[in-house]
């Protein structure tokens, strides 16, 4: 093989460079296109939240504004009560929920991979079965609303996503890579399993914790479904559901106008900034999670490969 290299080298290298160049060119073009398609819509929202309603109505959504205005934001924060409530609820539930979810998933995963735990396979199957079969939405809904008093209670936002079997499986696979000898020697020294887990295993699992934490936080922050099912009180809604409600009510208002409501009320409604308000609210509700993203991106990309899903 060594002998053929110098002979073939010049020609090979040229071919290689050419086809690599072509491949790279395609790569740059496609990746740029897709990347822009992903980021431009966000820019569109952001930009158009900074224009006046009349300009937007006249020009439609545009990337280059003819008129810059803070109208939508000033109106959004004129009565900030509902925004404040929604923010408070979502932030509290996200922090509390994600913390508990991470501990719960990793603790369970740790127990189920302990090779000295005689019933680990049985319990694993017991957990895994829930991903294969479920009772469906209705029995779950009736259980929660009728028997667990989810209606208009904060735990309706917290409990439904507190434990995920998939996260537990990721944790279990990750924990397998931590040498069993650590557990064993600590046991010999007389530590009990709870102490071992919290003092020795958790500190060794930071990539796992970051990944699961981010997944869980994302799930809580973006949750609208549980609010939609269980919450009707304005002060208990999650942020995304609040946004959904607002978009829907603006849409309903528009439909009413187009159906020809009374002329007097009509003019009053139209003067309310609806489209820009929608954009401003979207920016307000999405902003924090997007800003958080560059900070956690490092962990995220790394963490995705953790315990690649195989039960």
């Amino acid at each position: 093989m060594n002998r053929t290299v110098p002979l073939a080298a010049p020609g090979v290298r040229r071919i290689r460079q050419n086809d690599r160049l072509a491949f790279n060119a395609i790569g740059y073009v496609l990746v740029t296109a897709f990347g822009l398609a992903c980021v431009l819509p966000f820019l569109l929202i952001l930009i158009n939240s900074f224009t006046s309603e009349s300009a937007l109505m006249h020009n439609g959504y545009q990337f280059i504004l003819k008129e810059v205005s803070l109208q939508a934001y000033s109106l959004a924060f004129k009565s900030p009560q509902r925004i404040f409530w929604a923010y408070r609820n979502t932030v509290c539930v996200t922090i509390l929920g994600a913390s508990i979810a991470v501990i719960l998933a990793s603790m369970t995963g740790y127990v189920l991979q302990r090779r000295d735990f005689p019933w680990r396979n049985g319990f694993s199957l017991f957990f895994f079965f829930t991903t294969l079969f479920s009772g469906g939405l209705v029995p779950w809904y009736i259980l929660c609303s009728k028997y667990l008093s989810f209606r208009n209670n904060y735990h309706a936002l917290l409990l439904p996503m507190l434990f995920s079997v998939w996260n537990m499986i990721i944790a279990k696979n990750f924990m397998k890579s931590i040498p069993y000898e650590i557990t064993e020697s600590a046991k010999v020294d007389g530590a009990n399993d709870i102490v071992i887990f919290f003092r020795l295993i958790l500190p060794l699992s930071t990539p796992l914790l970051a990944t699961l934490g981010l997944f869980s936080a994302l799930a809580y922050w973006n949750d609208w479904f549980n609010s939609m099912l269980f919450i009707t009180k304005e002060n208990k809604m999650s942020l995304q559901y609040f946004l959904q409600e607002m978009i829907n009510s603006i849409q309903a208002l528009k439909n009413l106008v187009s159906m020809g409501a009374g002329a007097a009320s009509l003019s009053g409604m139209v003067s309310l900034p609806q489209e820009t308000m929608k954009m401003a609210m979207t920016v307000i509700t999405t902003g924090p999670i997007i800003l958080l993203y560059p900070l956690v991106q490092r962990y995220f990309v790394k963490g995705l490969t953790i315990g690649a899903v195989k039960g």
């Binding site: 819509p41 959504y61 009772g135 209705v138």
Partner: protein
């Protein structure tokens, strides 16, 4: 276990030691069991109890009488479901949409993983990878707002462009034929960034010596992708495919609900099982029929997983899920 000798006479020695072994195990692992308890209680309450709640499908459920108090009606709910004549249509839609999502997503993700991997500029890679990840971070509510801004009839950007170019505005929200394509598009837009990172990680795990050896032997980029990268990606692709296939009768409720909701103009092309179940629950409070449809869906999912896994276990045991 051998040293367990009971001083008293025992009627059934085997059972006695088994019991003793069990209780000793129990005591020995009390902390582990204690750590398991919260999650165990959680799945029992939120997963296993609702499974028992399946009986609702065979009852005329009355909210005030509760699950146990409501009268039995046998298969009446299912008969109603069949009579509505929508089941086959909904099932087909759910299945086809999911198959489209699975295949298009996988193709896009793999292609982009390979393209990004070959790109030399580290900075470009990092920046555009995070761009592609952005949609994964937002909820479907926000996606719906974005879609309205882009596709809306009155103010949407696309329609604005069409008009400035001298064309007629099109009401995309009333055109049902375009939505199957749009839904796949939005779903891929949201998910592909995430998926491509998973595949990219797999490619990074392939032994670089194989690529070196191949280039020394004169293989070009296309050949390297074809004969090294693709086979290297195969196990991950297969596992992702199998995992997705298990959920093939479970629709993406967020996507469909937020983007289509109750829009009657496009629903004929975009209605899926999950939307139907939710509508029956939320707007008509038809608990019986809704849970019957839910049970139908769950059984379908379960059967698919078991069949797929069974086949895989025969053909390629390494890739079976369980």
């Amino acid at each position: 276990m051998q040293d367990v000798i009971s001083p008293r006479p025992i009627l059934n020695p085997n059972e006695r030691t088994a019991w003793q072994r069990f209780t000793r195990n129990l005591w020995q692992h009390k902390y582990l069991l204690l750590m398991l308890l919260p999650a165990l209680a959680y799945v029992i309450i939120f997963s296993y109890l609702p499974m028992a709640g399946i009986v609702i499908a065979f009852k005329k459920f009355n909210y005030n009488q509760g699950i146990l108090g409501s009268p039995w009606v046998g298969f009446k709910n299912f008969r109603f479901l069949m009579m509505s004549n929508k089941l086959a249509f909904l099932t087909r839609n759910t299945l086809l949409y999911n198959l489209a999502f699975i295949t298009v997503e996988m193709a896009v993700e793999v292609v982009f993983a390979i393209l990004i991997n070959e790109i030399t500029s580290k900075r470009f890679k990092r920046v555009f990878q995070s761009f592609m990840f952005l949609p994964y971070f937002i909820s479907w509510v926000v996606v719906a707002a974005i879609v309205q801004a882009v596709l809306g009839y009155e103010y949407g950007m696309i329609n604005g462009l069409i008009e400035t170019l001298g064309g007629e505005r099109i009401n995309i929200y009333a055109n049902k034929d375009i939505w199957p394509v749009l839904l796949v598009l939005f779903r891929v837009w949201k998910m592909a960034g995430y998926g491509s990172v998973v595949y990219l990680a797999t490619i990074t795990g392939i032994d670089p010596e194989m690529y070196e050896a191949a280039s020394i032997d004169g293989a070009n980029v296309w050949q390297r992708v074809r004969y090294i990268t693709m086979p290297g990606l195969k196990p991950t692709m297969l596992i992702m495919f199998l995992l997705a296939l298990g959920q093939v009768f479970r629709g993406d409720f967020g996507l469909f609900y937020q983007l289509i909701g109750n829009n009657a103009a496009i629903l004929p092309k975009t209605d899926i099982l999950d939307l139907f179940i939710y509508r029956a629950l939320a707007s008509t409070s038809d608990f019986g029929m809704s849970s019957a449809a839910g049970l139908y869906q769950s059984v379908l999912c379960f059967a698919t997983v078991m069949i797929v896994n069974g086949v895989i276990r025969k053909v390629q045991p390494d890739y079976s899920l369980f």
